[in-house]
Symmetry: C2
Subunit: 220 residues, 2 copies
Amino acid sequence: MRIGELSERTGTPIPKIKYYLREGLLPVGERTGRNQARYGDEHLRRLRLVRSLTEVGGLSIATVRKVLGEVDAPELTTHRRLGHTLNNISTVGERQAELEPEEEDRARVAAMVERLGWTSYPLSSAYRDLVQVIAAYRQAGHPVSDASLDRYALALEEVSRVGFAEFVRITERDELLEKAVIDTVLGSALVTVLRRLAHMHISAEYQGVPDPEQPGQPDD
Amino acid sequence: MRIGELSERTGTPIPKIKYYLREGLLPVGERTGRNQARYGDEHLRRLRLVRSLTEVGGLSIATVRKVLGEVDAPELTTHRRLGHTLNNISTVGERQAELEPEEEDRARVAAMVERLGWTSYPLSSAYRDLVQVIAAYRQAGHPVSDASLDRYALALEEVSRVGFAEFVRITERDELLEKAVIDTVLGSALVTVLRRLAHMHISAEYQGVPDPEQPGQPDD
């Protein structure tokens, strides 16, 4: 297809497509004339991925380029490297946290991991970030209790299981890597947004908002 | 206490404390001399809150000022206004998402809310953001299935319940508002980080990483 059709089918303005091409986020099309190129389904797909990552995932062009570079790398070891890159996207650490966690924060995370029987690595960025967050709650004067922490963790374990169950159904390598990228970036937005929506529901429950479908219910 | 002690007890450099005072994030101390002021426990507490919000929550100084302004407002109606401000922090929408959701995305969110029996408002930013995220997954070529969406939503409902259970135990108004702010900002970091840590555990489970506590187990 020509660039006009690519633009139309994805709702992306042509100047933006040209920008992505210049930035290397989209592979160049097949040259068909002095100023013309032809694009295929792989361009359609890649363009949609780039837009999701930047516009909903909030990733910078530089980060998208890095992630896509690893998705496209021919080596088979890419998987582990991709995991590493993904693990470093949108971490708490990037926000130059200067809070100094104390020994008790570290001990609480270690005890939680132990109680849940989780496989985890104290040197990983996720582990260190959790220690930071626990420290931040404590320093703000509202520490999270162990009981709450366990319930939060089990809920997020379920979230992770759902993601993996979808993941293992995919057999094609390229699709698998793409899915891993999407899950990391959009998954984070999905969880954040569902949490806010759930919050609204529970809040209504606590305030005993009457159900509009059942008129007069609590007062009758 | 003097500013030096405030600095020492919170691990905050004095110039940073002065910056917060100038920016109005910290109430001025009680003047005790030409260049001296005395600070109390409320300064200690507020300073810790400000640091958590900026350094772990990643909020800008302007956003923190706005949120604290509502926490400190004397009117009793503040609660609702605070909820509104919190609801607008760190939304997907802020990232100028230009993806155009389609009718099917809206219908899927409406059906999910219906299946779960959630009280929710289609005009709220959380609802609209969820439609955006669902559209992003679809446009990226990896739509989330209804079954997965429900499981994600129920897990986040549990997260929300845990937060509320802690919330209702607090009786003092100021503490309550402070807790609401912390939960919104740090809660989001907590959920994100626990998700990454859970991911690591489930990933190890799928790859059958042997348990170091049980040497030789799977191969024996």
